[in-house]
């Protein structure tokens, strides 16, 4: 029996879950369902990372996405409460549908062209070494070739946290004249 057939079945199931999750994340009515769809997508992408020998990235995917980003989304959705679901609105639907279908059409055309080219020339995937994608070799490359971007990304995260606090705290009405003006326009 071909030992790769179970892997391909596994991969196909994960791909189906990924598409299902992406559709849920982008097109469901309720934001909670959207966040759950994103969770399904993230888990299936982590499975794909495992099958591509990217073990460390699969764990990072689970920890950062499923553990932090989806939870952050859920916090905000719960903070907004029922108003997180905006009612259906037909204004500008035609324009939006036109833009969306234009994007989808060009994407389908591109996928078709690439698929045509790829089917004709099958790509030989080289066998990966034992250490490919594990924490040791990944970390060695990260800290030898990409030290500066790594340190800069820590600065980016720091700035993002401070900025998030500053933005979410918002402008209080008593802070300045503009804040008072916005508060008054809200009341009227």
């Amino acid at each position: 029996m071909n030992p790769h057939i179970p892997a391909q079945i596994f991969m196909s199931v994960a791909a189906a879950f990924a598409v299902f999750g992406a559709l849920g994340a982008a097109f469901s009515k309720n934001p909670i369902r959207g966040a759950m769809g994103l969770l399904v997508l993230i888990l299936s992408i982590a499975v794909m990372f495992l099958s591509l020998h990217a073990e460390f990235l699969a764990f990072i995917q689970l920890i950062v996405y499923a553990g932090a980003i989806v939870v952050l989304f859920l916090f905000v959705i719960m903070l907004l409460g029922p108003s997180a679901t905006s009612p259906a609105d037909k204004r500008g639907l035609l324009v939006r549908a036109f833009g969306g279908s234009l994007f989808a059409l060009s994407a389908v055309g591109l996928i078709y062209l690439c698929a045509n080219a790829l089917w004709k020339t099958p790509i030989e995937v080289p066998a990966a070494s034992e250490t490919f994608g594990n924490v040791n070799s990944f970390g060695e490359e990260l800290f030898s070739k990409a030290v500066v971007p790594f340190e800069l990304s820590s600065a980016l995260l720091m700035v993002a946290v401070i900025g998030a606090i500053a933005v979410a705290r918002g402008r209080q009405p008593e802070d300045d004249a503009q804040g008072r003006a916005i508060a008054e326009s809200k009341e009227s």
Binding site: A26, P31, G34, S51, C114, L118, P126, A128, L142, A168
Partner: protein, 104 residues
């Protein structure tokens, strides 16, 4: 792992996910769904980066780039959701087309 890994399927799946995310970003008006669609887009990009890195197993360039994409995305989500909360406190809405504070 074998050498007959269906790399083509990974790239095709990545393209399909990118299309779904892009259409969702354009069509939806709820800002939460815009952010969720951006997540779908970035996940599609990550998948294709890792899949192409599998073709060159002697280095980890795609993996490192994916790592930085994940870091940037965490920052983007934190700031984006803070803006959503700020918008909601000012305008009591989460719809993108009602965020017009800079118009006048």
């Amino acid at each position: 792992m074998g050498t007959d890994l269906p790399l083509f399927l990974y790239v095709a799946l990545s393209a399909i996910l990118f299309t779904i995310g892009g259409v969702g970003f354009m069509v939806r008006r709820n800002v939460l769904f815009s952010l969720l669609s951006i997540e779908v887009l970035l996940n599609a990009v990550n998948l294709s980066l890792v899949a192409f890195n599998r073709l060159r197993p002697q280095n980890h360039t795609g993996h490192v780039l994916t790592f930085f994409v994940i870091a940037a995305e965490a920052a983007e989500v934190a700031v984006g959701l803070a803006i959503v909360i700020s918008l909601y406190r000012l305008k009591r809405t989460v719809r993108v087309d009602e965020a017009d504070l800079l118009r006048n």
